[in-house]
């Protein structure tokens, strides 16, 4: 399966299942921070791997990335990207204590990894029960650095099999004065062989 050959119907099918999965993840997040989390309808794009950092505000933008491997019936990667100020607000909100500027605290780091874990698990659970696939997240890993550097490590694995990445991307943000600024990007990056499997199950095969 080449990412470049996906039909409109197949992209729609991927968008729909991601919408449901992301909905679950957003519910989990809003329960954690005790406030509504709004979600944008996911964008499904096939893009040159080289262009992914541009979607994140430029390669030098300082971000926090949490990544998990997807294991089980289908394989791939999940990548969550938070702008640094949003990551800090999220930590402060969850721990009820301010997160200092500069490097993230150890407690802050493990809090964000846990957030990543919960979001990814909610997403994969929804996806798995919808598609009757067993999908298991690996333990989360975190990096706080330039966007380009954070994503290239994740994309390198994909690039061993091709030059294109399928991105299921959504943005979530809070409502009201307090949570207004927690923003993030959620990417699902399936392996090409797993994408074929997902499309097979979803019936979007051309």
């Amino acid at each position: 399966m080449a990412f470049g050959n996906l039909t409109e119907d197949q992209l729609d099918a991927l968008k729909e299942i991601s919408n449901i999965g992301m909905g679950h993840a957003a519910t989990a997040l809003s329960q954690m921070i005790g406030d509504t989390v709004l979600l944008r309808v996911p964008k499904v794009t096939v893009t040159e791997i080289a262009e992914v950092p541009d979607f994140l505000g430029g390669a030098e933008n300082l971000v926090v990335g949490v990544t998990l491997k997807v294991l089980g019936d289908a394989r791939g990667r999940i990548l969550l990207i938070f702008p640094t100020d949003s990551a800090r607000r999220l930590i402060s909100g969850l721990l009820a204590q301010p997160e200092e500027s500069g490097d993230l605290s150890d407690l802050g780091i493990s809090t964000l990894k846990e957030v990543g874990n919960i979001l990814a698990s909610a997403y994969l659970n929804a996806l798995g029960s919808l598609l009757h696939l067993t999908l298991i997240p690996s333990i989360p890993l975190l990096a706080h650095d330039m966007a380009g550097a954070v994503v290239d490590s994740v994309l390198i694995e994909l690039s061993e099999v091709g030059d294109l990445a399928l991105m299921v991307e959504t943005e979530f943000h809070g409502r009201g004065p307090r949570a207004a600024a927690v923003k993030g990007h959620f990417f699902l990056l399936p392996d090409p062989s797993s994408l074929e499997l997902i499309l097979d199950v979803v019936g979007g095969k051309a």
Binding site: G58, S138, A143, D145, M146, D152, S153, D163
Partner: protein, 163 residues
């Protein structure tokens, strides 16, 4: 004003003085600069992986360390560089996330660094400076006027290293 040219992932750019070639946000990726100090002519590659699998035909030479170096040397020599005058500087090859299965194999970053050292040695291009490894991202600026490479890191406060 010096022209600043961005070198994206899996790209190679060749330029003459006055000019600046920049690879932003290198993580595990490896930036490879080759320079002919007499001609003030050089190239910068932003590579992802050490080498292609087996005998696969490589459409994008800049994606792999080994093929990128070869291709740059060819292009530079085509423009009048002397292969005996070329020197190399490499930047990047970090491991941004701690490995999931430690000790199974080296990370991609380390393998990229090894591949570059080997390929350069084989082609007898002296590796005159490097800023590689670690677990942080780097931006690499290659000044064609002087052959100087400036490395910027932002994790834990902005720092500038001159190679």
């Amino acid at each position: 004003m010096t022209e600043r040219q961005r070198v994206g992932i899996a790209e190679i750019s060749i330029a003459r003085a006055p000019g600046l070639l920049v690879a932003y946000g290198l993580g595990s990726c490896l930036g490879i600069a080759l320079y002919d100090y007499q001609q003030n002519l050089g190239g910068l590659a932003h590579t992802l992986l050490p080498a292609p699998h087996g005998k696969e035909v490589v459409a994008r030479k800049a994606k792999f360390v080994a093929t990128a170096i070869e291709s740059m040397v060819q292009d530079l020599c085509g423009l009048g560089a002397g292969s005996e005058r070329l020197t190399a500087k490499i930047v990047g090859g970090a491991n941004m996330f701690e490995p999931l299965q430690p000790a199974v194999r080296d990370g991609i970053g380390s393998r990229n660094i090894m591949a570059a050292r080997e390929a350069l040695a084989e082609m007898q291009i002296p590796l005159v400076a490097e800023d590689v490894g670690g677990n942080f991202g780097r931006t690499m600026e290659f000044d064609l006027d002087t052959g100087q490479v400036r490395v910027r890191t932002i994790r834990g406060g902005t720092r500038l290293t001159i190679l």
